[in-house]
């Protein structure tokens, strides 16, 4: 059993009487990449703030790396790197100056070397001596990631790390995140809306809405539970009339493509064999067995 890095137990938090986090409990294991999913305003950022001890919960128990963020906040913050959407840098200072400043706050041992290293890793070396005020969203984001990594944290909280990045930038960043996790065992909490990007990256997913936990599990576990029916799209020369083919209900019928509804994935080979017996099959693809469908299914089911 791997060690629990983060534990939330029955956390409640409201802002001026409006509940934002509702009896939220979950845990994150050491070395795990957790996909922390939910719509805007669902409480993801608030949860990240609570876990870093910058705001205090109304009730419930929090543990991060063995410390209580409320009473031992600085111990927690020493071990955590945070990238949030709203946290900004000093505009009149250059990227390097900003990082060197935060290196002092995070007590980095060899600041100059570490800053150079991170500027390079985040592709900011050519912009190191430009003022942050002239940075694009993507550059600011990369600077934010460099800042989060300054003190080589054990836990990394990334709130929408890829929003504002171009596809190459997003890819590079996600690869880098994966490498950090593999090489150094960094525990990563990744809050995002861009579900496609993180589908294969995260080991486990947590879905929240209105501060409540909707679902918690690996993709396979959640798919097993929520994606009961499977849509299979087949590229074929077969022409079918009617709403079913040998007992398999037809969902969509377009020239060259047929889409079937299959109850269990074990039925797929039988369907394909039947199709091949009557015509040619050029390709077959499962539809709706992805994180996005899962997201909507869970939301639907729990609404």
């Amino acid at each position: 059993m791997t060690q629990e890095m983060i534990v939330l137990e029955k956390i409640n938090k409201s802002f001026s009487g409006v509940p934002v986090i509702n009896n939220l409990s979950f845990m994150v294991h050491q070395g795990e990449i957790l996909g922390f999913l939910g719509p805007n305003g669902s409480g993801k950022t608030t949860t990240i703030r609570l876990l870093n001890g910058v705001i205090t919960p109304d009730s419930g128990r929090l543990t991060v790396a063995g410390f209580n963020p409320v009473t031992a906040g600085d111990e927690v913050r020493k071990r955590c790197g945070v990238l949030t959407e709203s946290a900004a840098f000093y505009g009149p200072m250059t990227a390097r100056e900003n990082l060197l400043f935060f290196a002092d706050l995070y007590a980095v041992a060899t600041p100059t070397r570490r800053v150079d290293e991170l500027l390079h890793a985040c592709g900011l070396t050519p912009h190191a001596d430009k003022k942050v005020a002239v940075f694009s969203t993507g550059m600011k984001k990369r600077l934010g990631i460099a800042k989060a990594l300054l003190h080589q944290p054990e836990i990394l909280f990334l709130d929408e790390p890829t929003t504002g990045l171009d596809p190459e930038g997003a890819r590079t960043l996600l690869d880098y995140i994966q490498e950090l996790n593999r090489r150094f065992g960094v525990t990563i909490i990744l809050a995002t809306h861009l579900l496609k990007q993180v589908e294969t990256l995260c080991h486990r997913f947590i879905f929240i809405d209105q501060g409540r936990l909707l679902a918690d599990g690996t993709f396979a576990e959640l798919a097993e539970k929520y994606l009961t029916a499977i849509n299979l799209q087949v590229e074929t020369d077969l022409e079918i009339t009617g709403t079913e083919f040998q007992g398999f209900p037809l969902e969509k019928n377009t020239p060259g493509f047929l889409q079937f509804k299959v109850e269990r994935k074990e039925q797929i080979p039988f369907l394909l064999k039947a199709l091949l017996a009557s015509g040619s099959v050029y390709s077959a693809q499962i539809y709706g067995r992805d994180l996005e469908t899962l997201y909507f299914r869970i939301k639907e089911e729990k609404a």
Binding site: R77, A88, F101
Partner: protein, 277 residues
């Protein structure tokens, strides 16, 4: 107290003042007018014009004998010429309030900007996510306003001293500034007063949302109180130095209590919430 972090914050804040011309230009021009231009405008005419041609000069001189008795009055009364008396009075008494106003002005502007400025730029959130205890943050913010205020006051007094002594030397044949009371005022009372002003401003700045609000509130609450205090204190220059020693001591005590007691009312949760909501 985390010295490395405090030093980094103080450095950053002081450099930020330097790079914001709208902030430092008025903070530099007003003190320069007080310490260079005004003294010359007042001292030189007094030296070169024949004051006896002025109708009411005798009445002014008579006033000196009515000043509350103390070292300043004794010195003035001992001066043989009306010109000398007027110049000496102007240099050693009339300008005193300015040197209390300079540090207070600087301290208020920088202090009000301290937390509120970080909130407005959304950088407070980044700061609060760092392993930085609030005590360090508070002291760094206090020093980042107190040090420039004190430094600027000392520079201005130095310039003022040089200016008035050069301008008035031919009239007296000796250095007429500073008196002992002045040194006490500058080195003992003024720093205590500016530290208090800095603290109140920084505290207000932490509690409100933006710089405008902080600055208005501090102006509303502090300036009348300080104005009253300054008026009283500069009058004290006329009396003896014991009183200055004591008022300085009382101010330092108030500062100490303020920082000890009010510092506790700051917490991360409140600071953070005041930025985001």
């Amino acid at each position: 107290m985390n010295k490395r972090a405090a030093k980094a914050i103080i450095n950053k804040d002081i450099r930020a003042i330097g790079s914001n011309i709208q902030l430092w230009l008025p903070m530099l021009i007003v003190p320069l007018v007080f310490s260079l231009v005004l003294p010359l405008v007042l001292v030189l005419p007094a030296r070169f014009t024949d004051l006896s041609t002025m109708g009411n000069i005798e009445q002014i001189v008579k006033l000196f004998s009515k000043l509350s008795s103390g070292p300043l009055q004794e010195t003035i009364m001992a001066l043989p010429l009306a010109q000398q008396q007027i110049v000496y009075f102007t240099v050693n008494y009339l300008f005193a309030p300015f040197f209390l106003i300079i540090p207070l002005m600087v301290a208020s502007i920088i202090g009000a900007n301290s937390f509120a400025g970080e909130k407005e730029r959304k950088t407070l959130e980044t700061l609060l996510f760092a392993p930085l205890d609030l005590n360090t943050l508070l002291w760094a913010k206090i020093l980042a306003a107190f040090l420039p205020a004190t430094f600027l006051t000392l520079i201005c007094s130095f310039l003022y001293g040089i200016t008035v002594n050069i301008a008035a030397y031919p009239l007296f044949g000796r250095i007429i500034f500073p008196e002992v009371n002045w040194l006490l005022l500058l080195l003992w009372v003024t720093p205590a007063l500016s530290l208090g002003a800095v603290f109140v401003n920084v505290f207000i700045s932490a509690k409100v949302k933006g710089f405008q609000e902080a600055f208005q509130l501090s102006g509303l609450v502090i300036l009348p109180v300080l104005g009253l205090f300054i008026g009283q204190l500069s009058g004290v220059l006329l009396v003896n130095s014991i009183f200055l020693w004591w008022s300085g001591a009382v101010l330092w005590l108030i500062d100490f209590l303020l920082v000890r007691k009010c510092g506790r009312f700051l917490n991360r949760n409140q600071l953070f919430t005041s930025q985001v909501s």
